[in-house]
Symmetry: C2
Subunit: 129 residues, 2 copies
Amino acid sequence: MSDRERPDDPAPYYRAHVFCCVNERPEGHPRGCCKAKGAEKLRNYLKARAKELGLDDTRINQSGCLDRCELGPTMVIYPEGIWYSYATIEDAEEILQRHLLRGERVERLMLQPEDRLPEDRAALRKSAQ
Amino acid sequence: MSDRERPDDPAPYYRAHVFCCVNERPEGHPRGCCKAKGAEKLRNYLKARAKELGLDDTRINQSGCLDRCELGPTMVIYPEGIWYSYATIEDAEEILQRHLLRGERVERLMLQPEDRLPEDRAALRKSAQ
């Protein structure tokens, strides 16, 4: 149980809840966007494959901007809060097979603390005070 | 630490990550949708208020369909996985003040296990086997 949870919280609806950024920015925006890098196709693939594999306790959702645009397409998997940058169908399948089916981590695709953007570092410093 | 987490997982990017369903269904759809019940206005309010209050370690995102259409507008807050049905600005403000700022629960708005949809119950039974 994380320090955010409480003993009398209801049981979760989903064992794993995946949010795939599909945010779109105007063409030429300096940060780029996940949609322009094929995020929708990847999200649709994950959704279809999760259904195909009978992962009824896992939900694949699209989300708005996860603010890791330069590293996209990105996704985050809760409740464990693991972030991935994935570029291809093969990446998506590996996350599905290893993380979602077997509870492993796909280290080569994981976003790490040193991948934080400057404004995250500022927020972290603030919350640590 | 929940049983989904691992000791060597990176620190989370956000202390609280809120996903507000803003899904839209065609008019007249029997399940209804969060968007038709004012979800975008509520999500925009939460986002603006979180900024105003300096909640830098909290992110308010929009998401696709969270599949609680009949109970919407709905949101889920991770990593704790608490679901809310909220209808008004006052509801949104109470969640912000009590849950996000003080780590409490807004019991009157929380979705409970008995609010599960029939297909969730089937999935739960399956995963418990």
